[in-house]
Structures are given as structure tokens and as C-alpha cells.
């Protein structure tokens, strides 16, 4: 049933996102074409001899910026709205009558939210790549990457791959935990008989403050005895940053688990659709 929930969740969200990403791609390619034809040196030289191309590019970059911001905001709004509206308003009457387990409902929303967050990142990188096509050669790029690897190893005595993997894991875990934190706040809001949205906001703020405190304590503990390493450049500082990233990942895993179980048990034991 989880697969079916994910399928329908994807269907419900893609009708919003596919047109947005389609528009983004078309705008990016259009901009790139104008750039290639009218102002090949747009990025390297401030002045250009083609006024029309400059104006068109000015407009399309503004549009591009608005669209990117819009998509990021939309992703966030969608994550909140699909959870709140689909489960806790009238639509919840249908979702909770389905023969599915509560955790499947939560997980399907979470996974699809994650997928759209990932798509958002990938698409932004893709547009950057399209913009910069022709301004570099693959040879130069691979050389630059290779030298970055050796530089990183020289300075920190760590493999860049390992560091990148840890960073990626941190971002992934952090995203999951942030989404689950929104979910648990919405679920806590449902415990109130009135002003549920206000209560959800309140819950979110309280959780944020609690996390800030825990995070600060964690940082303080880690920083004690490591202060000079942080100030210093080089290998020791890198070790500290390394620990900081992995420590945060572990903390976020713990928070995420707590949020997940909190959300699920509220939905299971205290479900009160209006």
C-alpha cells in the first residue's frame, strides 16, 4: 500500500511541479540561446555592444531568479500543505478511511517531499550547468576537480570523497529531520480543539527553541578544548569540523526518530478530525 500512496502523492504534487520545472527549463534554454547569439561575453565583460540582447537577458535573468525562489518556496509550501490539508482537513476523511497504516501515510508524504526537495536542488544545478556551457572545457573541469582533490588531501589529510559523502549525509538527514519537525508540529496542533494552525506554529517555535538549546550545549561541549584548533587553519581545524558535521548528523537522526514517532503516535492515538 505504501507504493500506491507514493504513486498518488507523486501524481497530486507533480501537477504543480512539472509545469514549474518545464517553465524553468524553457526559460534557462531561452536565456542561454540569447546569450550565445547576442552576447557571448555576457559573463566575462561588463560592456557589450548588443543593447537588445542585454535588455532581454536582464529580463530573463530576473524571471529566472523569481522562478527559482518561487520553486523553492513552493516546495516548502507543498510539503506543509500536503501533510496538513490532505490529512487533517476534509480530505483527511478519505485518507484515514483507506486501509493503510498510519506510518505509511506519514512515510509516503515524507518520501515524496524529499524527492521534490532533491529535484529542486538537481534542477538548480542543471540550470547553472546549462548557463555555463561553452565557457569551460571538460578537460579543464576534470583537471580542476583533480587538483581540488589533491589540495584537499594536502591541507587536511582527509579524502575529499569521504568528506563530501559525510556532508551529503548530513544534508540528507537534516532535510528529513526538518520535514519531520514540521509534521510533528502540525500533529501537535491537532491535539487542540481550536486554533489548530496557531497551535502548530506555537509547537514549531517551541521545538525550534528546544533544539537551539540542545544544539548549543552540543557545540559547547565539542568546542571546549578544541578552541585553538578551530581558530587555527589546517588539519586540526578540519578534524573539528569533521566531528561537528558527523555529530550534527547523529543528533538529527535522533531528533528525526523522535519527531517521526511523535507524529505517528499522535495520528494513531489522538486522531480528531474536525
Amino acid at each position: 500500500m505504501l507504493g500506491k500512496l507514493i504513486k498518488h502523492e507523486t501524481r497530486a504534487t507533480s501537477r504543480i511541479f512539472l509545469p514549474l520545472y518545464g517553465a524553468l527549463l524553457i526559460l534557462t534554454i531561452f536565456t542561454k540561446l540569447v546569450m550565445a547569439i547576442g552576447a557571448p561575453d555576457f559573463f566575462s565583460e561588463a560592456a557589450s555592444n548588443n543593447r537588445v540582447a542585454e535588455i532581454i537577458l536582464g529580463i530573463s535573468f530576473t524571471l529566472y531568479f523569481i522562478l527559482i525562489v518561487g520553486i523553492c518556496v513552493m516546495t516548502m509550501v507543498m510539503i506543509i500543505q500536503r501533510f496538513y490539508k490532505n490529512l487533517f482537513t476534509d480530505e483527511g476523511y478519505l485518507m484515514f478511511s483507506l486501509p493503510v497504516k498510519t506510518w505509511e501515510l506519514v512515510l509516503s508524504k515524507l518520501l515524496v517531499g524529499m524527492i521534490w526537495s532533491a529535484v529542486c536542488t538537481v534542477m538548480i544545478v542543471l540550470t547553472f550547468f546549462i548557463f555555463s556551457l561553452g565557457t569551460f572545457s571538460m578537460m579543464e573541469l576534470s583537471q580542476a576537480i583533480r587538483s581540488a582533490y589533491s589540495m584537499f588531501y594536502l591541507q587536511t589529510a582527509m579524502e575529499l570523497n569521504l568528506f563530501m559523502a559525510e556532508l551529503a549525509l548530513f544534508i540528507l538527514v537534516n532535510t528529513v529531520a526538518s520535514i519531520l519537525m514540521i509534521y510533528v508540529a502540525i500533529a501537535i496542533g491537532q491535539l487542540f480543539s481550536q486554533h489548530r494552525i496557531v497551535a502548530a506554529f506555537g509547537a514549531y517555535i517551541v521545538i525550534t527553541i528546544a533544539l537551539q538549546i540542545i544544539g548549543s550545549v552540543f557545540m559547547a561541549v565539542l568546542a571546549i578544548g578544541n578552541l585553538e584548533n578551530l581558530v587555527l587553519n589546517g588539519r586540526d581545524a578540519m578534524t573539528t569540523i569533521h566531528w561537528l558535521i558527523n555529530g550534527s548528523t547523529v543528533l538529527n537522526v535522533l531528533f528525526g526518530i523522535a519527531f517521526y514517532y511523535g507524529t505517528q503516535s499522535i495520528m494513531k492515538k489522538c486522531l480528531n478530525l474536525e
Binding site: K4, K7, D90, E91, Y93, L94, F96, S97, L98, N272
Partner: protein, 233 residues
Amino acid sequence: MMMTILSTKNLTKSYGKKTALSNINMEIQRGRIIGLLGPNGSGKSTFIKLAAGLLVPTEGEITIDGDVPGVDTKAKVSYLSERTYLNDWMRVSEIIAFFEDFYTDFNRIKAENMLKDLNINPDDRLKTMSKGTKEKVQLILVMSRQAQLYLLDEPIGGVDPAARDYILNTIITNYKEDASVIISTHLIADIEQILDDIIFINQGELVLSSSVDEIRETHNKSVDGLFREVFKC
């Protein structure tokens, strides 16, 4: 197979300080059409939501075919809420595909035939429909399942009298012999002819539970007449 499809023991539900249902004990057998009758705010919807697994009892227990509401019971129960719970952006055909995906007992052909009978185009979006038409679509979806228990919360409130007759006819002809239908409504006169049993509730308490024949014999009144007498303001 158990003969009792739904049973409650001291079922109580309160919202904060307000008690919506208190100490309800009842057993509902298979193969019956039951009218759950009571004035507005008497606890009819709360009872149905508890049976559908949308609410959790404050005290006591409710079981469907021996199980507390959960995945297993939801697969056996076809629930029509008093809200329009369908996504506005969907087409009727899409919502049919949705039901078909999640309910193994959903019969697409039945649904399509009923849509045709009520002149509803499967390609129409729900957004463009009137409230009454949406209610018809919901009822068609719910009655197209081969469920063991149908919970219909105010199924005819918003639809026109002609469609009302069609719907009531659908309800009687559509369910299997071993299934039961619980209909909550205050439009008693309209559904009286199809009911086997009635349950009167008022202010969260069970007032009367009886078969319709018994009422006609012992009280020498129609259900509607008795209702007006019991709940006289």
C-alpha cells in the same frame, strides 16, 4: 463468519469537557439496514466516525467483525462522510482509479453504470460540480464497493428528490446479504421504507433500539411519528 458485524461496549467519546457519546452498548447484526436517528448534535456523526476509525474512543470499545478499527476493518467498511472529502482538482475518472487502487472490493463497472444513470460525466473535474453532484459522486464511490458494512453519514441531505429515490434504491439493491448498512439522517420519512432497524440517540445516549416492525406493532406508529414524539421539543 460472525453474525455480529459491529459491537460496542461502554463506548464513550468526549471532546475536551463535552461528551458526544456516553456509554453506548449495542450489537448490529449482518444483513440489516439500520437507521441511526437523532436530532442535530446527538452524536450520530461521532458514532459513525468511531466505527470508521477516524476517531479514537475516550473510553470503552468498538469492534467491527471482532476487530478494533484499523487497516483490516477499513478494508471491510465503506464510509461516506458528511463532508465532501474529494480533491477538487481531480476528475471523476481519476478518483475512481484512486478507489480502485486502494480498495480491492471496488467494482469499477458498477461505478460507471451509476455515473451514467445519474448523468455524471467521468471526465468532469470535481471543481466544476455543484455540491449535490459531488455528494452523488461520493455516494456512488462508496456504494460501488462490495463492503461488509456501509456507514452512510447523511447520504441524502444535499441531493434532489429524484436522485434520492435512485440512491435509496441503489442502497437496497447493492449490498450483499451478509452486509449491513448504517444510515445516519434526520430525514426519516424519506428513508423509512427501506429500514429494518432503528437506533434513536439523543445527547450522546442510546434512547431506543428496535426493529421497524416492532415499532409499528407496539407503538402503532410510523418511525417518523415515533421520532417526533420521542424528540418533541
